[in-house]
């Protein structure tokens, strides 16, 4: 899979209001911002507020020609997200780790029909991967991800170390990427690299 970084052409199309580029930008950074905030913010609504405010500031900066380094577009967005988050934190002190199970599933909140279908497809892929794991590895993942037990205690009790857990996740993630790309193709709506979408528009 060939990855291409953000560049001036991408920023130019974004500034020109190209729908597909803007759609890609929003999908791409929505996912990254949600991942970034997932361990820091309690409320899905706050996550959404931070995301929207970040995007609003970004597009304002974009149209004010403040993007000096298109190749570092991600850092620019991340910096704005951090500023918004810090302001949010100062305002209401809601930036605390997630607690309830319902709240942790916030990426699913407000999903469109397409998002829901994609989530189901991804679940099928993950299920196939997990079904290939040994009972022991499944148990390890269950304790760590589902029951959220202390990772050190889980590893200790199962006679493993943290590196084993990393490798297990690494292999599962790798299998997921391969299966996902095989199933959805490289122009998949969720994981398409930035430039691919722009190229597709140009063609």
């Amino acid at each position: 899979m060939q990855f291409q970084p953000f560049d001036a052409a991408y920023v130019s199309q974004l500034r020109a209001g190209d729908f597909r580029t803007q759609e890609h930008f929003c999908a791409y950074f929505t996912a990254l911002i949600r991942i970034k905030l997932s361990s820091r913010v309690r409320s899905p609504q706050v996550v959404e507020d931070v995301r929207q405010e970040t995007f609003a500031r970004f597009f304002k900066a974009l149209h004010a020609d403040q993007i000096q380094h298109p190749e570092r577009l991600g850092s620019f967005v991340l910096g704005m997200c951090r500023n918004v988050l810090n302001e949010q934190y100062r305002c209401d002190g809601r930036m605390t780790p997630l607690e309830s199970e319902d709240e942790q599933s916030f990426p699913a909140a407000g999903l469109s029909l397409i998002d829901s279908l994609l989530a189901k497809e991804n679940e099928k892929i993950v299920r196939k991967i997990i079904e290939t794991l040994s009972e022991r590895d499944r148990r390890l993942l269950t304790l760590v991800f589902l029951e959220e037990k202390d990772k050190d205690e889980v590893c200790h009790e199962m006679g493993e170390n943290r590196e084993y857990l990393r490798v297990l996740l690494h292999r599962a993630k790798h299998a997921f990427k391969i299966a996902y790309l095989k199933h959805m193709g490289e122009n998949s709506p969720e994981f398409a690299p930035a430039r691919k979408r722009v190229d597709a528009v140009r063609r």
């Binding site: 990855f3 291409q4 991600g74 993950v126 991800f145 009790e157 990393r166 690299p193």
Partner: protein, 249 residues
Amino acid sequence: MRFGVEFYYEGVVTMDHEVVVREKMTEKYLLEELDPQQRNDFEDHFFDCPECAFDVRAGAAFVQHSKVVLKELAEEVAQEAEEEPEKQLAYSASVVNPGNRGWFAWLKPAFAVPVMALLLVVAGVEMVGLQQLSKKLNQPQILPAVTLHLLTYGANSASLPIHPGEGFLLNVIVPPEHPYPAYRIELHNPAGAIEASILVKDSTEDTWPISFPAANRQSGTYTVAVYGIADSGQEKELPGSKFDLQVQK
């Protein structure tokens, strides 16, 4: 602490991609193993690196969806167990019935968990004819396990969740000196009764994996008592350990 090799780009410190990959930074990030500085540095990197962004998104997606899938799988296993109670009871009864096979015959120390798991399957099939009981029981099985450190008697108890009628594995870590030529290990149930006893001779291993067969056990604190046996045959009680068996309904 900043992580790995870095380089400067337009006055900004960024992580080196090769180091990020080699150090499994994505996995550490998703497992929340990074300190705040490392976490920020890695975010600086993957927001600008499409390859790492893809990696993080794929990993996060796997973690997110695995919660749903693992829950579903656990529910399916529980449902299967409910639908086949007769098989489970037959299996448990055949294992715990000491009449013709002997309870203690099951308690054999092994020195490698995979070997032990394999032996359990082979021995189980031979002894109780599980082939006609259940297809599932003929598969290699991973036992619930807990690691116990001797010489830490009275310390916090480890937890060992098991399903009703399920066997388990104790990984008993012993002092490396092995001052005694033989040891006797007893498993006491929450009522204080001896549930099992095993003799370990001439072991040079630091860990004794001991399997305990399926039985109808109750939740509670189980105690592992250890006795050192001198050449003269005299026994001395050594610090043991204990664990909380949690039979999950």
